[in-house]
């Protein structure tokens, strides 16, 4: 398995190159690029500029593990407004295009958002239809669309079986699961998701979680690896069982308040121990 970390974790005020140097120094193999989350990578970033990002990644001795985005929180594929849905689809398409440019084969998509306004049945149906339409584009680009399990934040696809049914309904071989082992909270067990989805897992986000209800931001229950309630031995065993040999991508929601670079070192060391089984 290889380890990666998001460029959206690069401390504010640092340049992309400084961040990449730190990531390399900490022993990561790659970097996850977040479109829309950083000043250097936006929807408006041109192909030439994206190519320049790749050059910088390669100069740092790294590769791009995947292209992610948080833009679908504001522009979900499940929106009622057709214009918003069109923008959401455009974001996915741009992710696919830029993934090709930076020579990676996976993107992360937050597929749908259940709200008081937009109920579950609508969200499900819209996401299925959107991904059915996007699947062939992904296939022709040889880029996998990984739908992330944002269980609590999305209030959508809360169990591994439900997610499996969803992927069956989408029925596109290039659409799978971007599993976040920290997003399951008290609704299940990450190792069971890994067992059930095995070959359909496109990438894995790593973070730990405290198993009481909460959300992002001030109410965050997310924490650094090994500080929460995830059963990391069971997670590692499940990864072995399904022969997962792909990217482990650190996504630390809770950030250090001092010595900001220290989180990169600590997280890299924790991932190493997970990979090596020194738990």
């Amino acid at each position: 398995m290889k380890k990666s970390i998001g460029d959206n974790m690069i401390p504010h005020g640092w340049s992309f190159e400084q961040g990449l140097d730190l990531i390399k120094k900490c022993g990561y193999d790659g970097v996850e690029l977040w479109i829309g989350d950083t000043s250097w990578f936006q929807m408006s970033t041109t192909d030439a500029q994206v190519t320049d990002l790749l050059r910088k990644v390669q100069n740092a001795g790294l590769v791009v593990s995947n292209v992610s985005t948080g833009l679908h929180w504001d522009s979900p594929l499940s929106a009622r407004d057709p214009k918003v849905r069109a923008q959401a689809r455009r974001i996915v398409e741009r992710q696919i295009e830029t993934a090709q440019i930076v020579k990676t084969d996976a993107i992360l998509v937050v597929a749908g958002l259940v709200t008081a306004e937009v109920p579950y049945n609508e969200v499900y149906q819209r996401c299925v239809e959107a991904l059915q339409a996007l699947g062939p584009k992904a296939e022709s680009a040889k880029v996998k669309i990984g739908c992330e399990n944002c269980n609590s934040e999305q209030r959508f696809l809360l169990s591994p079986r439900e997610f499996q049914t969803f992927l069956k309904d989408v029925n596109q071989p290039w659409v799978g699961l971007h599993l976040d082992v920290g997003n399951i909270h008290d609704t299940g067990f990450a190792e069971q998701w890994i067992e059930m989805h095995g070959p359909n897992i496109t990438r894995i986000h790593l973070k730990d979680v405290k198993k009481h209800r909460g959300r992002c931001g001030e109410e965050s229950v997310y924490t650094n690896l090994f500080l929460g309630n995830n059963d990391w031995k069971a997670i590692r065993a499940a990864l072995q069982k399904v022969n997962y040999d792909g990217w482990l991508v650190a996504e630390m929601e809770d950030r250090y308040r001092f010595a900001l670079d220290q989180q990169f070192y600590d997280t890299a060391a924790a991932i190493d121990r997970l990979i090596q089984g020194r738990l």
């Binding site: 057709p82 306004e117 109920p119 609508e122 819209r126």
Partner: protein, 238 residues
């Protein structure tokens, strides 16, 4: 009055089942007879306005809903519209100047026309012409579209449109709605705001839906389906 090819074909198409139905179809068919023809041939036309349909999933929803209702229906674009018992126009962009008089004529001849407004999902500048067309051809007065979400805590109403006709059902709102100002034939409310109205037009009816129904049919909402089936039953012969 010059007879266009389309009008001639439309008249001819209507005349065939009419002739089969009996001798009451004389050249001077009056409104009552026209209504009888329509009700003896329970047909439904779902109108695909193509680029002028601003809620495509609404079209898909009505297609699904009509299919599930076992009402025979055909799909036509605006140019192919012909007389039918029920004519459904989903997600109509505002201000379609050519559409309104044609719908009025079809209603006048006995059809029930369900017009689902997409005004709340279109560019704001179309609203003025939508208001003028509805007032001119159907006597319906509408108010500017309203955003229903996010609801203000304490002042919020439950997110349902309460329909009182053709049955009493509650269907979720669809985030934005185009209210009607008032008058006779109001049959659905969102909180205090009326959002649907039926008006008699000649031998038929024109039904204005200010809160989209089609997307709920598309997502499998049972109450929306019940409502649609109520509309279908209303249009079928006794």
């Amino acid at each position: 009055m010059p007879v266009t090819r389309r009008r001639f074909l439309g008249v001819a198409a209507c005349a065939v089942p009419g002739a089969l139905a009996g001798a009451r179809l004389a050249a001077g068919t009056n409104r009552l007879n026209a209504a009888l023809i329509a009700r003896r041939n329970p047909t439904c036309t779902l109108v695909d306005l193509e680029g002028d349909c601003v809620l495509r999933e609404s079209l898909d929803g009505f297609r699904r809903g009509l299919g599930a209702s076992s009402a025979p229906f055909d799909l036509a674009n605006a140019d192919q519209m012909r007389r039918a018992n029920l004519i459904v126009v989903p997600g109509a962009a505002p201000g379609l100047a050519n559409l309104a008089p044609r719908l009025r004529d079809l209603a006048h001849d006995g059809a029930t026309v369900i017009y689902e407004s997409g005004a709340a999902y279109a560019e704001a500048d179309g609203f003025g012409s939508e208001r003028r067309l509805l007032a001119r051809y159907f006597g319906i007065e509408i108010a500017p579209p309203i955003d229903l979400w996010p609801m203000t805590p304490g002042t919020a109403f439950a997110p349902y449109v309460h329909y009182e006709w053709p049955g009493r059902v509650m269907v979720r709102d669809f985030s934005r709605a185009t209210p009607v100002v008032g008058g006779k034939g109001l049959f659905a409310r969102l909180g205090e705001a009326p959002v649907a109205q039926r008006v008699q037009v000649g031998a038929g009816e024109f039904i204005f839906l200010g809160s989209p129904l089609g997307p709920h049919l598309w997502s499998g909402d049972r109450e929306a389906q019940t409502l649609l089936e109520g509309f279908v039953r209303f249009c079928q012969p006794a």
